[in-house]
Symmetry: C2
Subunit: 777 residues, 2 copies
């Protein structure tokens, strides 16, 4: 844990340069625009510790799998988030000496991420060993509106000398992934040019043959006037293009370099047009100029904030944390493209290889559902629908048939790209989260038609998987599910994971409900699905009903708890309170076998199920399970706290709920787990949004309205959040004494506050007194 980021409601601020924190800051100050991202690497050369990272959405590389011992069914390739050509380079030499913050003395360094306006700023004075000082100010952003464009304003002022400066502006495509399995570079060069009109380089990925054109242009201002270069050296080497020139720098006179980049990829344009398109976009950007682009950026971010901001008063750390998370979620996924998804590290690092985990469905979908047009959340669902055939093939590889689908644990384009057997083959609850997301989306939006066009097909395939994956135990005379890994990855290959069994049973039931809905309301669609999937309703329903009716669930009635898995009570019954500080985190201090056979839980497992299906359980059951499992959960996944916090809130454990929130909301800003240097925990940021809205706000989706049971953490003066719900936009404003809900849309809406329904007319608000804690339980 580190706490060097300054508190500020709208800005992320680092003061002073600490080289050992540089990789962490490179992650924290990352920029993105849904179509790509850029770590906060320096424009200058930097010889110190750094993780260079430029990423282009959807462009990946299937790196050959590396395992200790091959097992049947492993995927041959492990897809990699791909480090792409770097467009930010502005390298400076003063009288032959490189401007390199690892070599110079660095004075008054600050790095600022302006979340309100969406740009990164960096200011410093560098002092060379001969005492020469230059002041540098850099402002950089990736345009939300023109999402192929990046722009930099790079200002240099000599403070105590005049001299000639040498500058290199470049695009470097000779880059590698740090996590390459075989130390291989993934890009090959296709075409390049350094003409003064248009400097670019087009590269292609090996194997996947994506093409990316990265182009640059620039202009120079000296003492406020445009400077035309009299001479210029053009550099072209393998996978590298640059312009090199000299500028006379005068004491206390500012020189500004505006660098513009355009990044076009074969995801969106035919390969033969990539450079033409980049050229046109670049010309336009340069013509409009940096200030106009930046003004556009402000306006775009204002729109985002209008829809998704959460305001907290009285607790600037909490305010900064949640805004930062919302900012990063919006930088990562714009929802414009159904082929994209939300990687656990977004565009901020290489780790976790593939792009999509069950994180999206379980922890990110609610944020996009409530803060953006419903088609954006819908695209997250369509992403999985598009991969259905591959999920069916994936299940076939593992021995399933008749159209059963097992979605991959980690994927880029539908192929499984993870290869630990205990995860890939066994952590099958992901399939249930994908079904649950369909339910969640339909319930929230009332877009039932989605079932007919997309959802049902996916549900049938997943239900078929569950029906084949269980087996009838003669011993128990019930259906069991053997050899799974639950969300708690500190157990592997267990039998009857309560959460997975619960999801499986629920999926079967919901699929039958959805089937009947489609059959009755969209008979043609039903016919076509039946044909396409060879669906045998009578027999499959019979089988599914039989399984759902006779599914086995491990529990202990004496303790009043569901058991995470068979045999859970055979473990040594310790609690987290029994652990020493030196044991934590377990995953760094204990051997894997010790973790496995211990009682300690990595992340919400039974509680994840109670969170999903809380309406099916009484409050006593939820409390008993919460208290048993919370005492045994070490929260070594970033996805754990929000579920515990939401349940704690429901159980009136408000202090606990708040503490969970604090850890989660500033996970990356405070480098809580000492791993922010690898990139940000983007998907868990969705969990912190849920934490405030569902936990503190107590928001639940009822059949045709939203319900709220808010409380306010003691430390806060007020908090407010906006919610899109179908055709309405609501502002929920919670204070110590009351909650005010404003209908900001032109249509009336029904809402429920503290179990009381209200009809809110267009543009009207209601204020309800806060209810004492006792009444809520």
């Amino acid at each position: 844990m580190k706490q060097y980021i300054k508190y500020n409601p709208w800005k992320i601020i680092e003061k002073g340069f600490t080289p050992s924190y540089n990789q962490i800051s490179e992650s924290i100050f990352s920029l993105g625009n849904g179509k790509g991202g850029q770590r906060a690497n320096f424009e200058e050369n930097y010889s110190g510790q750094t993780l260079q990272g430029s990423y282009v959405a959807g462009v990946y590389y299937p790196d050959k799998t590396r395992v200790g011992w091959w097992k049947n069914g492993y995927p041959e390739y492990f897809a990699k988030v791909l480090n792409a050509p770097t467009w930010i380079g502005i390298k400076t030499k003063i009288e032959g000496k490189e401007l390199d913050l690892n070599q110079c003395k660095v004075i008054d360094f600050e790095r600022i991420l302006d979340m309100k306006q969406g740009f990164l700023q960096r200011n410093f004075i560098a002092e060379f060993d001969d005492g020469k000082q230059i002041k540098v100010q850099s402002t950089r952003f990736m345009s939300l509106k023109r999402d192929e464009i990046g722009a930099i304003r790079y200002s240099i002022t000599p403070l105590n000398f005049s001299a000639s400066g040498e500058f290199i502006l470049d695009i470097d495509a000779d880059i590698a992934n740090q996590d390459s399995n075989y130390d291989e570079k993934f890009w090959i060069e296709i075409e390049k040019s350094t003409s003064t009109d248009f400097t670019f380089i087009t590269t292609a990925t090996k194997k996947t043959h994506f093409q990316v054109c990265t182009a640059m242009d620039y202009s120079i201002l000296q003492a406020g006037k445009t400077h035309i270069l009299s001479s210029l050296q053009k550099i072209e080497t393998e996978k590298y293009v640059a312009h090199k020139f000299n500028l006379e720098l005068k004491e206390n006179i500012e020189t500004v370099i505006y660098k513009y980049a355009a990044i076009t990829s074969s995801m969106y344009e035919a390969v033969e047009n990539l450079s033409k398109m980049a050229s046109a976009l670049l010309d336009e950007a340069k013509h409009d100029g940096f200030e106009k682009l930046l003004e556009e950026q402000r306006l775009e971010w204002a729109k985002k904030w209008k829809e998704s901001d959460i305001v907290i008063e009285g607790d600037v750390a909490a305010q900064q944390g949640i805004r930062y998370n919302i900012f990063q979620l919006n930088q990562t996924y714009s929802g414009k493209d159904e082929r994209l998804n939300i990687g656990p590290k977004g565009f901020t690092g290489e780790k976790y290889g593939g792009s999509t985990y069950w994180d999206t469905e379980a922890f990110c979908l609610p944020f996009y559902l409530s803060t953006a047009d419903q088609k954006i959340a819908r695209n997250l669902l369509v992403y999985r629908h598009n991969h259905l055939q591959k999920a069916i093939e994936n299940a076939q590889k593992l021995g399933f048939n008749q159209g059963a689908a097992l979605y991959p644990m980690v994927t880029m384009d539908g192929d499984e790209c993870h290869n630990e057997w205990e995860i890939t083959f066994e952590e099958i609850h992901r399939n249930g989260a994908i079904a649950y997301a369909i339910y969640n989306y339909v319930k929230y939006t009332a877009d039932k038609k989605y079932l007919a066009t997309h959802g049902l097909e996916v549900l049938i395939a997943i239900s078929r998987f569950w029906a084949q994956r269980v087996n009838f135990s003669e011993e128990k005379q019930q259906y069991v599910m053997l050899g799974v890994t639950g969300p708690n990855e500190y157990e592997n290959n267990i039998n009857n994971n309560w959460y997975t069994n619960t999801l499986a049973k629920w999926t079967l039931q919901y699929t039958m409900e959805a089937t009947d809905y489609v059959k009755n309301n969209h008979p043609e669609a039903f016919q076509s699905i039946t044909k396409k999937t060879n669906f045998d309703k009578a027999n499959e329903f019979a089988k599914w009903s039989e399984i759902a009716k006779n599914m086995y669930f491990p529990e202990n009635t004496e303790k009043g708890i569901f058991l995470q898995q068979d045999g859970f009570l055979d473990k040594e019954q310790l609690t987290v309170a029994d652990l020493q500080a030196s044991d934590r985190p377990l995953n760094q201090n204990w051997s894997w076998d010790r973790i496995l056979r211990s009682i300690f839980i990595k992340q919400a497992d039974v509680l994840q199920g109670l969170y999903f299906f809380e309406e099916d359980y009484d409050i006593k059951t939820i409390r008993q399970n919460y208290e048993y499992y919370e005492a045994r959960t070490v929260h070594e996944s970033s996805l754990s706290s929000c579920v515990h916090s939401i349940l704690a809130a429901k159980l009136n454990k408000q202090k606990e709920a708040y503490e969970f929130y604090l850890n989660a909301a500033r996970l990356d800003l405070d480098d809580y787990n000492n791993d922010t240097e690898d990139g940000l925990h983007i998907t868990s940021m969705g969990g912190t949004w849920m934490n405030i809205v569902q936990g503190f706000g107590g928001m639940r989706i009822k059949e045709n309205h939203l319900s709220f049971q808010p409380f306010i953490p003691e430390e806060w003066e007020k908090y407010s959040f906006q919610i899109r719900y179908r055709e309405n936009l609501l502002l929920i404003d919670v204070r110590k004494n009351n909650v005010k809900i404003s209908n900001q849309s032109g249509k009336s809406v029904t809402i429920e506050i503290f179990n009381q329904k209200y009809k809110l007319d267009a543009f009207k608000a209601i204020v309800v007194e806060m209810q004492p804690i006792e009444i809520l339980a």
Copy 2:
């Protein structure tokens, strides 16, 4: 499965050259002398499919571990059986054309492994594309007596031409392991020379810094007369030395090249003496000459056969199979050096990385106990005693303390060198096999003093491991052992593996028994052990007794079986009869998760325990378990059949017993599992010996005598085997009607035949009628 090896009681014969079988034959025809080995690679260049392999005992390389996802406790290095410099090269060109069996037409090819005399012979006629034919005969062996020496007689006769031949005799140290994790070569060159006096190359392994000197010398005979070379080209390149010369070859005149090699290693000699030593040994070998060396070889093998041969009459396939296995066991381990052990592939391939598995204790020890001086078996035990400290450190890495030891799953020098968590961390039953081997050795030899000098210390450390590895289940009110993998590796991370729990309980009890013996009979040794191990007899005994008394064992009383693990009866209750041919072998046709959750068993697990401790169970229990588990076992480990066969024999299922034997005994000769090309299954060869002696011969070790309950497979006329038992040498000769046991030693001995004791005086024999089957059960 393939059946191209010709049946012969003393020889392994391949007729005709089938390039696709070449790698298989290279394994099958391997040579070894306990200090090294050589696959049956050709002396000539061969451009076809080949796995080159020369191995020097004890010389290994710790290759950096490669895993998909690192887990705490993994070893950093995965030791590798090291492919060493090749000494066999004799490359021939006739008028510029390479003699390469992949390029020539090959006529009358035969490869013969003479097991009685211990040499490899290869005869063929090669026809070049211009019709020229040469006849080649090569005879090669690695001397058992002079175990640094290899020798080749390479004879060439032009059949239809006379011409000049170019010959290169070389040592090639520029070799790689096929299974190198990072495609790295493991050897560096230290010194070399190509002087006519002494041609050699000394190489060192990276990291481990072993040094090996490989030296060669040669002589030439033409038309029966020594030929002195008039000119000679000496070749020295990176990690390569050779002599190149021309010989005039005359039609129908034989030219013979005798090539001698000496291989000395830093395992046995100071590095500064390696080449000197090689030079001296080489001079001596060349001086004595090929024929004398070969005569020595015959005599040495005669001695081996006198002690360990098994004779089968009436079934040449079975005879060839068992002799082959005994031959390979004796080629692999001579027992002279307590630092060496028996790798699963011996010196015949690279696979299975490290050298020593629990195979040694469970499947090889009985062979060496009964067919060689007891100090040879003792060395196998001392090997583990020498690694005790490392086993304690290994356990510490996993979180155990107070001198608990976990022996590695795979090791070269005591360090764990395997890295799948489900094996390394969980397949802990190996610890029990090491304890059992001590019991087995002491029981067989009556060398109880071994407990005082070595055994007890190991037993205490293993018992401490078990005592910490179990935990008390409040639910069951018994001690349980969670998260293990049993011998059946088609299950991982299971709870309460019956076999492991049984071994653990037994180890605790035997350790207490051994402790009392040492305390009473070797009080000084006991004191010193107590001090060295901080042994607290009173408290540790109390804990061990408590655990042994309250250990939990899963069982089903209705079916009358022990359960392999908790929840075993929840599995779909199929049997092997339900499988299709296309499912087999499961490990090639089913995904790993399907294998894991299926009921099918890779190798004896509960039955392995019943085999070890058969005296503790009544015949009904053994039968019920045998019938239940045999029906569910797919025997996809080479170590499975022998245990099933021995139990089947005990249960009078003689036909079954015989069938198991047949598969196992010719596993490599018939390439039963399509994997002989990787090397031979050396350790399972020990199992086939047990199969005949314990299964068919019904030999058991009683307190102070051996007991026999032989039967003879229907297909056989007779079989006989020799047994060393303490100071006696017994010949057991089993025929259709009777069994004859001869005491071939000068001391009387008590034996038991069909539950009747007999005293056999020196050099006397007894003949007992075979008993009808019914009586035996």
